[in-house]
Symmetry: D2
Subunit: 439 residues, 4 copies
């Protein structure tokens, strides 16, 4: 199995974290899945991902002190594998795991994903639990010096056959549940260790091997960022997507700096291999963190974010509560001209950068169509132009014919080229995205 | 003018440094050029590059103390532009510059290149020389806090219109001489300043602009390395090639570590944009450093080096004294099956790495042919295998048909695939390179 | 209570680590204590310190894999306080702790010390054990992100009243046992965290406070090194000694580099405040690590080591198995002229340094006597001289009269000054130490 | 000659920089010297120091672009030694140097100091000027890779006999002028080179040697800061004072952070060896920078600054224009109870620190008198207390008797101890300084 075939296009879906934090329930997940099936699936959205600490009890009970209660109660089987907390996921009672929830999501025509932390539970190591299929125990598999800086649940796993066996046992379980997508955290960069930022390297390889052995095409997503540019070949070889930024939230400085991040990573996108700009904080957010609130992004910023993510071929994971999505936001997420950029074939390049604006272009070498995005990073409406000469290298490399006009994706208006150049007024923090089809 | 069109293929040629250090003369350059025209040009070799301090007098006179004599005598015009030292380049007498030398190289059907140091001569700044075409003087253009850590000749140029004017004046001069290639040093990474390694950023842009204005398609090569991976987009936008390693010499550890370097840079090769593995220390070397000596590389290591440089699409610059080249080395440099990899279209990827071996593949998406290289990094002869499955992602991305057999480039022998796999015995530090044509 | 009064002189004694590693037993400790009482106590040696993992079972059972067995069996009370393992310390049965061992050592006229790891046992946190004298539990006191990089037993303690209560409960226990000296590890520098090397700062303060509250004058020693020079004022305020080097073993490079360390720390010695050069690896070593062996230091190097430690006023902790000490070594440790330097009043300064030698002087401002040490760091016998002029600043500062001759401490021979200067032949890696009394 | 005897007390005086920048003239210097002789000399103030670029012409002519005009005109003798610019210092005409100015300052009973930049003029190296007393030239002495990051005038000097000869020639010149004090800049820390911050180490030693050879007791002051704590022994051996902070100006954050700096350096003060907190920005400042302005410090902050500098035994260099000093400021500078702390014998220690306050004590071991300073770092008036118990260690070390009351230095009021403790209300950013004499 070629792991790249598991994700021929950048994965698109929904993730529970931005709205629910650690507290999402089975009912919440299903409600969002049903909404997705009804409203978004036709446009390519398909993954439903349950984020962090689905195995933990009492997750919201000490919010003022801890996001993750240290040494708190967790659901775990006799082999040190975490199971869904049945108080949050009733169908998981009796050790059934996510089997039923995954089945219902599959019935909706969607795919099911889970978040995991790198490693083996600290409680399993302390209790010397057996590792399935081996004669060793968790205390010999856990590396007591390998922890996560911000979540207290796990120890890293040693680079040994027994360590691989533990990851194999995890994937056997997830396969039995029907998991399609794993977001593994504390692994893309291990930032507790400033001088060993890639100390989870062997665990990435072990996860990859365990997926290959489990027989199921499970997409592997790595967090958190910023991923290490010099490890790009390693990420590409073993994973499908990897976070190129720290947690992304809805502030303009974070969005603005994503342009630099995408510039650095632009040469590292290929089929099955996607640098990941993180979730899209849209609609309503934050209830699980204590206060439901609308996104801070203006409509213009939302278009800018979606355009950058799409032209860069980033995975798209919605952070919103879908059932409360407003019509304007939903409409944005149903724009087929925009989402066409996520077909897995487009390759993008930054064409120009200056202090106030950025220009990006993306090409589908198979069809010959291409896109041009004019981003206004300044605080005032201003004209932004681009010329065929600037795109010439890229077009030449892909042997594309010049286009003479294009449709602006967000407005639907046709824009004509004036000789070699095109020029558009762009609002502050906004974007114009042109779609050019071969003549 | 699209600067990428100046170098549709990775530049191939000869550079005076490895043999002559600072002491190459006009006669030396011409002798090497004539040899190249006769023996190498038919295989794609075409650049003749005069390396560092062609403007300096007495260059070998204080060898035991200095490679570059501080505050030594230099040939310079009234505008602070360095000229060839007429003692080394007689045709440069009377301020004629490299005009005649370039003309003779052009007559041989070759191209002419020069090395320059980033910046403006310290002596020009101290003398307040005028900057051509401006009413300002060199002391206002030079940045007294921007120096090179290892060469004492220059100051960096300020990021001002007058600074641009100085670079413009340089390119006007070089254009009048007929220069085709500039290797600018102390600019790709400014390693005197550990916290400002890219302090020459604006000077790269100024050089690019000056070239665009001069009207001549001059290839821009940046030194020294290691180039900064996170600045890849900037190098690609403004230069044609940039050094990805520190100075490369003929030791196995240096060659071995080049595999890691190529791994990191593999996604950053495109038409007109070439990460540069540095000169090839072959044949006889080092005379200008005080002692002529043969390369330390074994024949197997020489094949490994050439194969890695070619499959990676690195520029190829010979470090040897050409007129003294032995037949075996010359034959290697005339291998058309090898040099086909330098057609500018091939794109390579590392397929597998372990402690003892590396496997790389390269594809020409236009013709469908591909290469597979099996490198033995260990100290013993050993079998190295590769499978189509391992290359599958790459072949799929380029939509290539599988090949069933291939010719080994260095031996000429056909190698057949056993089902999905191919296996070859490879000598220590050696390589097998297979060329597969579409069926 | 002024903590400086607990250690008016640099502590001198024996530590179990260098010979026994984690495996020392009650019988071993007593045998060494009896030897010390008989042979060394008259010369000022008085501390008997039980080093790491006295609470752990099976400590030598997985030597080939682990120095410290992860998640191994430990003796612990109901409040999460570690107790001596009764298999190694039979008198500790029934929760009696070190009470009887301490009593027997006190009967010998000696003082009793223990090693502890910073923090609270991981097992206590996992088990939610109560913290004595509070209504909180260990899981709320332990900081799950604060671990030791090389020992898997503990979590750091949070900077809260409950955290202080845990340390108070430890000191109450140790006071009931009769502990006189605590060597706390993983606290002087927390080197798992390169950007937060002093993350145990608050735990140093908590230990100090707990000692003050316990009512017993317990000496506080901090490990490991290298201590942070810029935190000198903090160490001096809260501790009695702190390790200025990484673990010191018997190699010449380690000994040689201690001269630089002492140079850096020379201004930071005062009554009750001692930068600590670590244990003295003399006699037989290493049995607990798997192989008993004699020290690698030559007799000359041993004199050099002892001289440097003494002139610097470092604490002196013997790493040897005392019961097997040879006569030559014992005689060195009984040299009263040497050990006089450890009276707590001497202040030392490096007088001169060059590549091959070092000269140090120390003064007792109360008595007016002073010492001069001539160290030969080279590989050949050579003359080393010193002049009164070089010591002038120091002597003037302490208003000492010049001395006209002195006794060499290791040989007992008188050395006369030739006018202003003294000169001695010193063997390679050796030393001459002159003792000058006021006229 | 013991260089510590050149400065038995921390030097006190005036420096031209804070008011005049590069533009001070002979008349300005004399006016300030005369004021000092009249008003401050009786209180211990004695040094008159001419700061940076006294050798440069046109110093204020390009203020909007440069503080130091690159490659600007300088007065220099035939041996590459800078001379005073006669346009600013008329008595220096004809190569007379500072001879007359120094003589007039000496007539006033004061001492004369100059600022120099580490190294040899760049212009001297470019011109190959001879080095006095040698057969070598400046181009062979200058290190072209050693520059200052912020001043363009000099190159560092190589560590060779010829380099020493250049420094010897400088000191011969300065001795002939009658210089008493040299503030050498770009040498205490060479911050252009983040990985070689002490690259001027050998030049400090060469300066020290040149001073020893010149036969005149010239005080050596090193700039800029922050000095390197781990090099403390080196500074103490070769210099009299060294800057422990970056340039200090009149802002509260800078003053506040000086408490941390003094804490780090408190153990490194001894006779002739003074960590230097930099000039005192009092009165009127900044005229040479383009705008005369009063200090930003409030009266309370001025007392806090003076108290900290004095209790720490920092050198005191006034940054004000003396001739315009207001009465209140002058009175502060004439406080004998305060300045007694600068007698060279007091040794200080930080007694307590918390977020809002600091307590320091200083002892004169010869007389038995001591001082206690209570600093309020907060924004509100608050009571600050101290106890004899807190000072016990320090008093015991110096064997002082307890004092029962003390005079507050700034107010003159007596403060009595309540048993063991003393308590005072202190205004925001203010201080209470108690002087306790032995009973």
């Amino acid at each position: 199995m070629d792991k790249n075939s598991f994700a021929p296009r950048p994965p698109m879906g929904w993730n529970s974290y931005d709205y629910y934090d650690t507290n999402v329930t089975e009912a919440d997940v299903l409600a969002n899945a049903e909404y997705m099936a009804m409203n978004l699936k036709p446009y390519g959205w398909e993954y439903v991902v349950v984020d962090i600490q689905w195995y933990a009890y009492d997750t919201a009970s000490m919010r003022e002190k801890f996001q993750y209660i240290p040494f708190g109660r967790k659901e775990m089987d006799a082999y040190g594998r975490l199971l869904p907390c049945p108080e949050k996921f009733p169908s998981a009672r009796g050790g059934a795991g996510f089997r039923e929830l995954a089945a219902r999501i599959h019935e909706l025509g969607l795919k099911f994903g889970i978040h995991i932390m790198r490693g083996i539970p600290r409680a399993a190591a302390e209790a010397h639990l057996p590792v399935l299929g081996t004669d060793t125990t968790a205390d010999m598999v856990a590396d007591p010096a390998s922890i996560c800086g911000w979540n207290p649940d796990m120890y890293g796993v040693r680079d040994t056959p027994a360590g691989q066996a533990y990851y194999d046992s995890l994937l056997a379980l997830y396969t039995s549940w029907g998991v399609d997508f794993i977001k593994c955290d504390d692994i893309c960069v291990t930032n507790l260790y400033p001088t060993r930022l890639y100390s989870g390297r062997h665990e990435i390889e072990m996860l990859h091997r365990a997926i290959a052995r489990c027989g199921r095409p499970i997409v592997l997503s790595l967090s958190p960022g910023p991923a290490l540019l010099e490890q790009s070949a390693h990420y590409r070889k073993y994973a499908n997507m990897w976070r190129v930024t720290d947690d992304f939230w809805d502030t303009w400085p974070a969005l603005r700096s994503m342009f630099d991040t995408c510039e650095r990573w632009q040469d590292h996108v290929s089929a099955g291999c996607y640098p990941d700009c993180d979730m899209l904080p849209l609609g309503l957010l934050g209830k699980g963190f204590g206060q439901e609130r609308p996104t801070n992004f203006t409509p213009a910023e939302q278009q800018t974010m979606l355009t950058l993510w799409c032209i860069f071929s980033s995975p798209l994971m919605l952070g919103a509560e879908l059932t409360k999505l407003d019509t304007r936001t939903l409409t944005m997420l149903q724009n087929p001209e925009l989402l066409r950029l996520e077909n897995g074939r487009f390759r993008a390049r930054q064409v120009r950068r200056d202090e106030e604006s950025r220009v990006w272009a993306a090409v589908d070498p198979q069809t010959g169509e291409w896109y041009l995005a004019l981003f206004n990073l300044s605080e005032r409406t201003m004209p932004i132009s681009a010329s065929l000469a600037e795109c010439a290298g890229m077009l030449a490399e892909y042997r594309l014919a010049d286009a003479r006009f294009g449709a602006e994706v967000w407005s639907g208006r046709l824009l004509a080229w004036d000789g070699d150049a095109i020029l558009a007024e762009v609002e502050p923090h906004g974007v114009r995205l042109l779609h050019m089809e071969p003549q």
